[in-house]
Symmetry: C2
DNA sequence: CTGAAAGCGCTTACAG
DNA sequence: CTGAAAGCGCTTACAG
């Protein structure tokens, strides 16, 4: 196993030029009218020596690295690491590799990372944007870098997005509660302008209004877990008539469930509980909790597809059509929303 | 913002040669006796134009990519994604990037991935080996690639490892149970030759033997969760005198806790419970469960440090000193192991 | 049907 | 103290 194999060696061995070898290697044998005989001979030698073209040299020449930059708040969050796993799989199958970084939601850090990615000449970007970073991101896409955003949506940034259909999933979940006989459904969310949270709220509101019910919403100004739990407690105490409650995000579900650890279990146990975002705990505890599960596989598949389409389209038509893909989530129905025996 | 900035432009602008610019950029100004005046002038122009050398060209020339390949079973497992996050952080701070892949414990896949990594000319590897892959891995390190293994230990592979100190952590945890008055401690593990599991078992065995207690061990031939839960149930029923139980891995803890969902809670509730591996659920349920928490931050820091040391040592002394670093885990003491009121 | 040569953007031995 | 030039290993116009 000699390390130094290069196209030159192959050319010498076959007795032809590196040009011809390169053509054959790049599948341009036909196009360039290389004789079948020569083509076969080259392929045979290449196979025998297990020669693989140096990807760095190729990158330098072509300007393409076949590397995609993946940028999220925190790669260790289950949602993001789940996405990462599938994206790597899909991208690998198409010859791309992923490099990633976690921003920790730090503005300075995100600029640095984008710089590093650019410096590494990544072909494209996959990003879950955090708010407050519009500027950096805006610069990125106006620089025409191929980018696909996911998870978060920023209306002011006109780009390609792949998102969970927050509105529809929440509407479906709310309808599920109504179907099972729950009439007074409360909704716990945070006080924010984040589009995905607004969509979830809207999905809930529209659905309860359809049956002329009055939305009852708690908007928490989120500072920390304890405070949030406290506010949920007050909300439940002040609205004893609620017979179901939807938590609009995993951490809110956790904060709500924490009530049972404070000896306040009766506040929740009398009601149906439904969580936006699913996680192991919800299936495990008793009663198990119905949850909206983000469609990680489908999200990842669409992210990769969309990005690769943009990469292959090349410079040709990078303006024009922006796509915002919304993918339906799954509703995992469990004990916590079982039909009322009334 | 012109895209085409190259070292040539800088040289022209300053009125010097690319050689000189390169020396200055690489911090060899002093060494190469470039005048301070020229050095400053170059640095100023570089700063003004925000010029950054093309990393691909540099890689082609130097043979170094400043990329590290990270290989695990499944990047979305919390332990691995936690490690990934910290490794990325530490490595980024030193100018390295991580590319990753999940093997899914598939032999063919691992060969492919190692090939891809090699093809990408990664400078080094960080790998959690799975058993059965000794061959591929052996080839890798005999090829003198800089590798650091973590999480798993394969005695037959003489390489660098960074590991949780499974023996010591389990011994400490067992001692904690003894200190709190538990006398008859059971140990649930799997039937395996995996070194880390053997070490955990040994940590338990040695500790109970110190107080002349008899080890009571359940070794499960692991097929699936249901079967495992069933075996744990039988073990508990056949050994009603046990007053404490240690689960040697997170999935075993889960299988054990599942008993409570089957209405068998009394089997466990009368005993102290301790888990090797910590996760959210354990802190959350009631009673909360004492757990050994793998020291992710310290593991990651040591992995990166060790690998970079090897990279920087270069060809000079890659033989010789192998290191096996064992890092102590934290014991998170919770309600499930509280002192017996006897 | 095939090849000589330029060039991607660097680093570094060599020469002055 | 500084620069011209080779070369890393490819791809691809251009010429035959």
């Amino acid at each position: 196993m000699q390390e130094k194999l290069s196209i030159k060696h192959i050319a010498n061995l076959v007795g032809t030029s590196i040009t011809t070898v390169s053509f054959v290697l790049n599948g341009k044998a036909k196009e360039k009218h290389i004789s079948e005989k020569l083509t076969e001979k080259i392929l045979k030698v290449v196979a025998e020596l297990d020669y693989q073209p140096n990807s760095i040299a190729r990158s330098l020449r072509t300007g393409k690295t076949k590397i995609i930059g993946f940028l999220v708040d925190d790669i260790s969050k289950p949602f993001f690491s789940g996405i990462a796993r599938v994206i790597d799989q899909k991208a690998s199958a198409r010859g791309y590799k992923i490099i990633f970084s976690s921003t920790g939601n730090d503005k300075k850090r995100i600029s640095e990372i984008l710089n590093i990615f650019k410096d590494r000449h990544v072909d494209g970007y996959i990003i879950a944007i955090a708010e407050g970073l519009e500027e950096e991101i805006g610069r990125l896409i106006s620089g025409k870098a191929p980018v696909v955003f996911f998870d978060r949506y920023l209306p002011e940034i006109d780009a390609d997005y792949v998102l969970t259909d927050n509105f529809q999933s929440t509407a479906t979940a709310t309808q599920h509660l109504l179907d099972n006989g729950f009439k007074k459904i409360g909704f716990v969310t945070i006080d924010t302008e984040q589009q995905q949270m607004l969509d979830r709220l809207q999905g809930y509101t529209d659905t309860v209004k359809k049956v002329k019910a009055k939305p009852q919403v708690l908007k928490i100004k989120y500072t920390n877990s304890e405070d949030s739990t406290e506010k949920i407690k007050s909300f439940l105490q002040e609205n004893p008539d609620l017979d179901a409650i939807i938590f609009a995000a995993n951490y809110l579900t956790m904060d709500g469930l924490r009530l049972s650890r404070l000896g306040m279990e009766q506040l929740l146990s009398s009601k149906a509980v439904l969580s936006f975002d699913d996680f192991e705990l919800l299936e495990f505890i008793s009663p198990s909790i119905t949850a909206i599960e983000q469609p990680i596989e489908a999200l990842a598949e669409n992210i990769v597809q969309l990005l690769l389409k943009k990469l292959n389209a090349g410079e040709s038509k990078n303006s024009g059509e922006r796509s915002v893909l919304k993918i339906n989530a799954n509703l995992n129905i469990r004990q916590s929303t079982q039909t009322l025996v009334s």
